[in-house]
């Protein structure tokens, strides 16, 4: 493997919460051995499944979260396999686990046990609430992490009779994993200097709490509480809708309205090219906007003409959005220098020409099926030590014999 983490050996003892961390490391060249129980990880039973037929080698969930990893089956309930686990860790750079607090100690496989034989070990513990302290025993899921930790309060609709919304895609777990990877990379670089490993504790509730942008700092700095709004930033004060249903039924986000004189010139030009001027009766204000250097948003209350110009610009971009198919609106707007976006479904993003040109959709071979499938690609493009998927997720126990051979 050619990634920047080539040569780094990771033992992963993770369930649904920590899988993502191991994948991020494995896709960058680390050797990640996933220790699975006999019968396989629980997530091999999670859908969706290949052709909707369940089976331990057919879980697309497992495929997604375990690319490039090796599978080593160990029954940690058995003393012999616990010794094998300890032997693997003794030769590893990193142990990453998402066991509930107390479980690793009960197995005799906690940091205090392992570091005596491997003082260079970096042991990463990912838990929902940390290893000790208030709430560490509470039951949780991705939903409750995002609801209790802050993100859900900011997400949802203008209509507050509808509940707050958890964003899709397991972001509570993935956010904990992002911090796990960042922190263990710090520990790796520190080890380059000191020669010593250490214990890294990741708290999923805390990770959600510091991934909420203005929700946190509005409270910390000013004691203010943001309120959720449809498809745009939650705010202390309500803001204007920016999510428009386009002519093809898809949505676009219209971003920041025109403010500079040149913005109004390009906006009016766009309106004319589309032949829409006659239908947009506020167009004279766009002409007035062209005569101004810029609209000072702080002055809108005292300058009624500026307020009318600013309102016309905002209405014009929404007017155009509603009359074009979403993709036309997105590309025409951006070509004219307006920061607008299309609300793609995940699969539509994979079909977009820009991301295809960048090589984002990535073909992964599944030789035992004699097929190839497309996976999402690299989150970062390294010039030299590149991200890659060398192998699809492991078959259950595929690497057990090879991994344990040195210890048997």
């Amino acid at each position: 493997m050619s990634g920047p983490l080539a040569g780094v050996k990771v033992i992963e003892f993770c369930d649904e919460m920590g899988d993502w961390a191991g994948k991020l490391l494995a896709d960058m060249g680390a050797t990640v051995m996933k220790v699975e129980p006999p019968g396989g990880s629980r997530t091999r039973g999670y859908g969706p499944f290949l052709d909707d037929i369940p089976g331990p080698e057919r879980s697309l969930w497992f495929w997604h979260y375990n690319t490039n990893k090796q599978s080593v089956v160990l029954d940690v309930a058995a003393a012999r396999d616990r010794l094998a686990f300890a032997a693997l860790v003794a030769d590893a750079d990193v142990l990453i686990e998402d066991a509930p607090p107390g479980r690793m100690a009960a197995l005799g496989l906690d940091w205090s046990d392992l570091q005596t034989t491997n003082p260079r070990l970096i042991h990463v513990s990912i838990t929902a609430f940390g290893r000790s302290g208030p709430g560490t025993g509470d039951a949780f899921t991705d939903l409750t992490l995002l609801a209790g930790g802050g993100p859900a309060w900011s997400c949802g609709y203008d209509d507050h009779s509808l509940p707050p919304v958890r964003g899709g895609g397991n972001q509570g777990y993935q956010t904990a994993c992002h911090y796990a990877v960042m922190a263990l990379l710090v520990a790796l670089l520190e080890r380059d200097v000191s020669g010593l490993g250490q214990f890294v504790e990741v708290n999923g509730n805390a990770a959600a709490n510091v991934t909420t942008e203005a929700s946190s700092y509005s409270w910390l700095v000013a004691g203010q509480t943001v309120q959720r709004q449809t498809g745009r930033h939650a705010g202390v004060n309500p803001s204007i809708n920016t999510q428009i249903r386009c002519a093809d039924g898809r949505y676009a986000t219209t971003g920041l309205p025109p403010r500079r004189g040149d913005d109004f010139r390009r906006m009016l030009g766009w309106l004319d090219q589309l032949g829409f001027r006659a239908e947009f009766d506020q167009w004279p204000f766009l002409e007035l906007g062209m005569e101004r250097d810029r609209i000072d948003l702080a002055m809108l209350a005292e300058d009624p003409e500026a307020a009318a110009i600013f309102g016309a610009g905002r209405d014009c971009v929404n007017f155009i959005a509603a009359r074009l198919p979403a993709y036309e609106f997105f590309t025409q707007g951006q070509e004219r220098g307006f920061q607008v976006g299309i609300v793609y479904s995940p699969e539509e993003m994979m079909e977009d020409p820009h991301f295809k040109a960048r090589g984002f959709p990535t073909a992964v071979a599944h030789p035992e099926l004699d097929r190839e499938f497309v996976y999402p690609g690299a989150p970062y493009a390294f010039e030299k030590s590149k991200w890659s998927i060398q192998r699809r997720a492991p078959l259950l126990g595929e690497d057990t014999d090879e991994a344990l051979a040195p210890y048997r």
């Binding site: 609801a147 309060w153 919304v165 958890r166 670089l189 509005s218 000013a222 498809g231 479904s345």
Partner: protein, 412 residues
């Protein structure tokens, strides 16, 4: 306590907003020397967060932006007027003693200033250059401009957040500014690790739309493998859990105004315990005893639950279910999770920093602890040019007279 884990690293930092500044904040929290460069002519306003609310009560202006402070704690701040040749010389000197140059301008900005990757490499052959913008530096949309909500929209994250039959709810904040910064921090750290092994620097081109798209989870493979799109009738419904299949699973109304409680049952056993607490005959219905039956009419199951949760506060429901081992939590408001969740308090998640103008102010801390070399946040974000003397004299070796000349001539 001073953080030491990364104190051997120096970052020449052009980042701003959150998408870039969040990355170097993480490094600074672990002791990296992050030197943030700002434009004295524009008074640092290439980062719009400088000088915009929230402000502490009674404060306002360029040095008082609460978001700016939050994202730039523990960094050093210098000003360089890069329109002048002398400031460009200072920058060259800084790059020559830095491990990393980081930026999140629109694609091509640094290049136009004459400090693109090729030039950075000439100054320091093993330099690590990490750029982070919405669409990256290569591809048909290279000129397109973004901010968090556009990145989220294009990557699929806005679409996948919402209730059935409603428009996308999206993320009510720039989730991808946070998360783009996390990937940028990872990229910087991994590139340094690679350099330590090989002596080789490199450019990492980040497109935060791609960092966002990798987060869509297994739903994406359901399309590429099974041909089932997420855009289909009744989908998505992100408060529910399709994969893994769980029910009930949602956010339910609690007594009072805009109060909510999240509940999930991970297996039949948890549902049976919940049904006992609800204690109405409908909950004990045999058809709900197994997951398949609960999934058959999830709307009806949710109505049953709503009738029950509505009658009590979120705290009461949480207490009742938590003691029975069922995943449950109030949907916490900012004040509730910051000042009243004992878990975040005990973690030390909201440290107080000292800012030269704002005074004492609390900020987001780090959700990780390292046993030997932990993070530490003490110093607030730099005021404009606050560390000009320190950086130019102590790090770059300019004399007091030279620095005075820079100041007099508008170089810094």
């Amino acid at each position: 306590m001073e953080a030491t884990a990364l104190s051997h690293l120096r970052i020449c930092d052009f980042t701003g907003q959150l998408a870039g500044a969040g990355a170097t904040k993480f490094l600074a929290a672990f002791g990296a020397e992050v030197i943030r460069i700002e434009d004295p002519v524009a008074q640092g306003r290439w980062d719009i967060l400088r000088g915009i609310p929230p402000f502490k009560p009674g404060q306002a202006g360029l040095e008082y932006g609460g978001a700016f402070n939050n994202h730039n704690v523990e960094k050093l701040g210098i000003t360089l007027n890069l329109r002048t040749d002398r400031a460009r010389d200072v920058l060259r000197k800084l790059v020559s003693v830095s491990d990393v140059v980081s930026e999140n301008f629109a694609a091509g900005v640094l290049d136009r200033w004459g400090f693109g990757y090729e030039e950075l490499k000439r100054i320091r052959p093993d330099i690590i250059y990490v750029s982070n913008c919405g669409f990256g530096h290569i591809g048909p949309y290279v000129r397109y401009k973004t901010w968090g909500p556009i990145v989220q929209a294009v990557s699929g994250l806005t679409f996948s957040s919402g209730l059935a039959g409603q428009p996308p709810a999206g993320w009510g904040y720039s989730y991808m500014d946070h998360t783009g910064a996390y990937y940028m921090a990872m990229a910087i750290l991994m590139a340094i690790y690679h350099r330590n092994r090989t002596g080789e620097g490199q450019w990492v081109d980040m497109a935060s739309t791609e960092a966002g798209a990798v987060l869509n989870g297994p739903a994406l493979l359901d399309y590429t493998v099974n041909g089932r799109p997420l855009r289909r009738p009744g989908s998505p419904d992100s408060n529910r859990s399709q994969y893994p299949s769980l029910a009930p699973h949602g956010i339910y109304p609690a007594a009072g105004e805009d109060n909510w409680v999240a509940i999930a049952c991970r297996d039949d056993e948890e549902w049976n315990r919940l049904a006992e607490v609800i204690a109405v005959p409908r909950a004990a219905d045999d058809r709900y005893k197994a997951l398949a039956g609960r999934l058959t009419d999830e709307d009806e199951l949710d109505r049953l639950l709503c009738e029950w949760t509505r009658q009590r506060t979120a705290a009461e429901t949480t207490g009742l279910l938590q003691s029975r081992g069922i995943p449950v939590t109030p949907v916490r408001r900012p004040g509730e999770r910051i000042d009243a969740d004992p878990n975040t308090g005990a973690w030390g998640l909201w440290p107080t920093v000292q800012h030269a103008a704002m005074g004492a102010v609390r900020v987001d801390g780090m959700p990780v602890h390292l046993s030997r070399t932990d993070w530490s946040l003490n110093r607030g974000a730099p005021c404009l040019g606050e560390h000009n003397d320190h950086v130019l004299r102590e790090i770059l070796g300019y004399s007091t007279a030279e620095i005075a000349g820079f100041r007099a001539d508008g170089v810094i």
